[in-house]
């Protein structure tokens, strides 16, 4: 589909808004979108939140290192997530846990849930497994970081492994 403004470039930005009681949709190319002040799509799609900040949160995240380049469940890559600001499915949080963690910490100032827990025994079982997986994945990453002489990352990973092992 062509951009509705310049009618030449391919449209890749979808804008939905309500102005004066009328619902309108616009399909624009990124250049026209930017010229019209829509360069930050997050602000428009998520008026309820502070999504506009999100992309900058993501860009500071660690590069993909867990070896799981695609989510086994929905097929999202970490790049898909940072580009759209949207996570693909519940499993993505497991698959890209270490990549997402810095962004999550920056947004919330914390990365450990406290509050309601659903009344399901099976959740616990799944949890133990996913913690095991996480530990395994971290150890692999640590090995790799050491091989690549990326000591800063290695130190961060080592601390996290320690922390997780202490929790067990």
């Amino acid at each position: 589909m062509k951009c509705e403004k310049c009618k030449s470039r391919e449209a890749n930005t979808h804008i939905k808004k309500v102005v004066n009681g009328e619902y309108t949709e616009l399909r624009l190319c990124s250049e026209c979108a930017k010229a019209l002040g829509y360069d930050n799509v997050f602000d428009l799609e998520m008026p309820d939140m502070f999504g506009g900040l999100l992309q900058s949160f993501f860009t500071g995240a660690l590069p993909a290192r867990s070896g799981a380049s695609r989510c086994p469940e929905c097929g999202s890559t970490y790049g898909d997530i940072t580009n759209t600001g949207k996570v693909g499915c519940a499993k993505c949080y497991e698959a890209f846990y270490s990549e997402l963690l810095p962004s999550i910490k920056r947004i919330h100032g914390s990365a450990s849930h406290c509050g309601k827990v659903p009344l399901r025994a099976e959740t616990l079982e799944v949890e133990v497994n996913s913690a095991e997986n996480e530990l395994k994945s971290l150890k692999t990453q640590l090995q790799k970081a050491i091989e690549e002489q990326n000591f800063e990352l290695a130190a961060t990973l080592r601390d996290k492994i320690k922390e997780m092992e202490a929790e067990k």
Partner: protein
């Protein structure tokens, strides 16, 4: 006392079904399947002591959909017609569930007045019952899993809608906004964008949802709201000493009951002045509920919905003035 300042309380929970991808990765048929499941669980019988009805967004007219945005029942995003989007509500619209918004389910409870705990209690009960049938995605570390990481954890957004004309006039709102963000809360204009609100209506909500329990988030919001209410009332008291301000309120009422054409922005601004005049005992014979319902009714799509037809902006200004005159006429 708090009626003068607090309009309504709202709690919203985001939930996703464990066995389906999030809305941005799901197919149309998966989306319809989820909508059908939720409908089956909630509709056609008593659910948690409430009677729910469901409507597909694609079956509604544009006025209906946009009017829902105007009365804060749904998000602008949800107003787009789409076969995956299903809205489930109680008859009075106090409780609503958007199915197929940014998350599979958005459970929302809006109650007039300062009723945060009650709103949370209802949302919590619905969530627990729904989870038994739908199995929501949850992780012990990250809490409820949501499409956008900003909602992780409790996936709860609690908010109160406040009328703060005196704090707006004294330019205190901007200063408060800076301090609130340090407490993990955010304030924004309920009509229009950012903190410069038309009609001095503001919404305060929690910004952080991971690492803080529902109970503490609600308590934080409650205590900040109480402080804001007190400082609003104190500022009003001193403001009302000035004849200039009393005159402004009297004139606003005068225009509202006599105007033949009035645009939305002007109407909201004058209704806001009138609302304060009523609360401060300057204007009698009009009750707050009438003003609050007018604020909602006179929005563009809501007007067209009321008249059942498309109206040009000029026609809307005429119809708006007519409705305001008839509802505010001294009895």
């Amino acid at each position: 006392m708090s009626d003068a300042v607090i309009i309504s309380s709202r709690v919203r929970l985001a939930r996703n079904l464990r066995d389906y991808p999030f809305p941005n990765r799901m197919s149309t048929s998966q989306g319809e399947e989820i909508a059908e499941k939720v409908r089956e669980v909630m509709c056609g019988k008593d659910f948690c002591g409430y009677k729910f009805m469901a409507v597909k967004m694609e079956d509604l007219s544009e006025f209906d959909r946009v009017a829902m945005v105007e009365r804060h029942l749904i998000s602008p995003e949800f107003a787009a017609p789409d076969s995956k989007k299903l809205l489930i509500t109680t008859e009075n619209e106090e409780i609503s569930i958007m199915v197929g918004e940014e998350d599979h389910l958005r459970i929302q409870v809006i109650i007039d007045g300062f009723e945060l705990e009650k709103a949370y209690e209802i949302a919590d009960r619905l969530d627990t019952e729904l989870d038994k049938k739908l199995h929501f995605a949850f992780d012990k570390r990250l809490g409820y899993l949501t499409q956008c990481p900003t909602n992780l954890g409790t996936a709860m957004r609690a908010s109160v809608m406040l009328h703060l004309p005196a704090l707006k006039e004294s330019r205190t709102v901007a200063r408060i906004a800076a301090n609130l963000s340090k407490l993990g809360l955010v304030i924004r204009g309920a009509y229009g964008e950012d903190t410069e609100s038309v009609g001095a209506m503001y919404q305060i909500s929690n910004q952080v949802s991971l690492g803080i329990s529902e109970k503490s988030a609600v308590e934080n919001l409650r205590s900040i709201t109480e402080q804001l209410v007190n400082s609003e009332l104190k500022t009003r008291e001193s403001m009302m000493q000035s004849f200039e301000y009393q005159d402004k309120i009297g004139r606003s009422y005068g225009i509202l009951i006599t105007a033949r054409l009035i645009n939305h922005k002007e109407a909201v601004r004058l209704l806001s002045n009138l609302r304060m005049g009523i609360c401060e005992g300057l204007i009698e014979g009009v009750d707050l509920a009438t003003v609050d319902s007018l604020m909602l009714k006179i929005q563009p799509a809501s007007l067209m919905r009321l008249k059942g037809t498309r109206l040009s902006p000029e026609e809307r200004d005429r119809v708006r003035a007519e409705i305001i005159r008839s509802e505010l006429r001294p009895r």
